[in-house]
Amino acid sequence: MAIPQNWRLQNQRYRLTGEVCNTCGAKLFPPRDVCPECAKPAYEPFQFAGKGEVYSFTVLSEALAGYEAYEPYPVALVKLQEGPLVTAQLTDVDPQDVHIGMPVEMVTRKLTEEGEDGLIVYGYKFRPVLKPAVNG
């Protein structure tokens, strides 16, 4: 992905900023300009808490080019507590320990590096909840 393309996605990538529909209140991630629930405009930024659970997962034994460093790595659909599903890598977990329903939390990690002299791309991944009792 080109540098400007990565740069303009920073808010979503680094901290899971989405949108909330002004009309029906649906929380949206990724951000989009028209609410898929009620087809009204949705432009209001919304900060997701980054907590959720694994809706489904897989383990890639054949990495995508640029992701070889992590192979084999788990990828999940994470159901955020505010509603949306997010596609993301799981990190700090052994693939055999992942299960559907596992509580996870968002962390910001390296997604890929565009070669040794290129951009380092950071973004959200999810990991098993470190300390369930922590508030906030």
Partner: protein
């Protein structure tokens, strides 16, 4: 040194990666299985971690404890010797990730293992002067030692972050700080070099001990405090032996340094080292406790700081994971996986 207005720490956060390399693995690979080790094991960053990601998580923990809107942070300063880019600030990545941009100061600091505490000292001045309501400082590293070198046992990864504000909001109030700096080339890395060069035994008396002891004594003399006034103390911990000897020389007991002495189980987290010792102490400190921090950075210098814990500690401490939560979360890896995770395999 003491700012005109009283300032202190209003939030703090730790981060230690999940992976551990036992020192016995290095002995196995490089010494044929026989030999003393300076520590038990060290923290190793995962393949998707670097100083920026470590700084981000530590900063988020500090922000949770501080309970302030990130937009009110007026400076984001990250100290590290392993900034992911040679040119391009780590601090802007951290500032963006926590939502402190764009109306903020940002900068990267470098002074070997004391890059974080020098940023902290500057933040005290920045806030006390009124130039910022709050300042975020981070010490974070993913340090590398040459394979087989004695440094490889301890060079590790981790970080800690602090949000500095005025004293009345603080969970730990700054009593004063003192710095001691000389030009002492005990350890350095030239541009383009993968691994640092160190002076072996030269890193001891003329470097670590001279600066650490002078800074600690200078601070206590200035404040009129003595070792027994401190509930706990942390001295930069490149290993276990150095801080133990420094403490003993100054008249601190093992009991006083036990809480902050983490090197045996996580290694030397460089810019994170003394700052992680302080997060561990704050995790258990009681209001009224006096805490001493003395950093050391090769090249060389020490910053010493004295804090008094306030009653705000109780309500804020539980808002983020404790230092020991991260230390307990551990997955042991072998030398092969360590070499892969640290990018030491030639792939191209």
């Amino acid at each position: 040194m003491k700012p005109i207005r009283d300032v202190g720490i209003i939030g703090y956060g730790a981060y230690v990666p999940r992976y551990r390399l036992p020192a016995s693995e290095i002995v196995r690979v490089w010494k044929g299985g026989d030999g003393d080790t300076p520590i038990t094991e060290k923290a190793v960053p995962g393949p998707d971690e670097d100083a920026a990601t470590i700084a981000i998580e530590a900063a988020r923990n500090a922000l949770s404890r501080a309970g302030i809107p990130p937009a009110r942070i007026g400076a984001v300063w990250v100290g590290s010797e392993s900034h992911p880019y040679a040119v391009k600030p780590t601090s802007t990545i951290v500032a963006e990730a926590i939502g402190a941009t764009p109306e903020t100061q940002a900068g990267d600091w470098e002074f070997a293992c004391k890059a974080g505490t020098e940023a902290m000292q500057a933040a005290f001045g920045f806030v006390a002067s009124g130039m910022a309501a709050y300042a975020l400082i981070v010490g974070a590293d993913t340090a590398q030692g040459r394979p087989g070198d004695e440094l490889e046992y301890t060079a590790s990864a981790g970080g800690a972050a602090y949000i500095i504000g005025l004293a009345d909001e603080s969970l730990a109030r700054l009593e004063g700080s003192y710095s001691y700096v000389t030009d002492t080339p005990d350890f350095f890395r030239r541009p383009g070099q993968e691994y640092p060069t160190h002076g072996s035994r030269f890193t001891g008396d003329p470097a670590y001990f001279r600066h650490v002891l002078a800074a600690a004594r200078g601070l206590m003399e200035q404040l009129g405090t003595k070792p027994s006034d401190y509930r706990m103390a942390v001295f930069h911990q490149p290993n276990v032996k150095f801080p133990e000897r420094a403490a003993k020389t100054l008249g601190f007991t093992d009991e006083q340094i036990r809480t902050g002495l983490l090197a045996d189980v996580i290694g030397n987290t460089y810019a994170g080292s003394s700052l992680l010792g302080l997060t561990a102490m704050l995790d258990v400190a009681q209001p009224g406790d006096r805490l001493l921090l003395v950093s050391f950075g090769s090249g060389a210098g020490s910053d010493a700081m004295s804090f008094v814990v306030t009653d705000k500690i109780a309500e804020r401490r539980d808002r983020a994971p404790f230092t020991q939560d991260y230390i307990r979360r551990r997955k042991v890896i072998d030398y092969g996986l360590y070499v892969r995770y640290r990018g030491k395999l030639k792939m191209h």
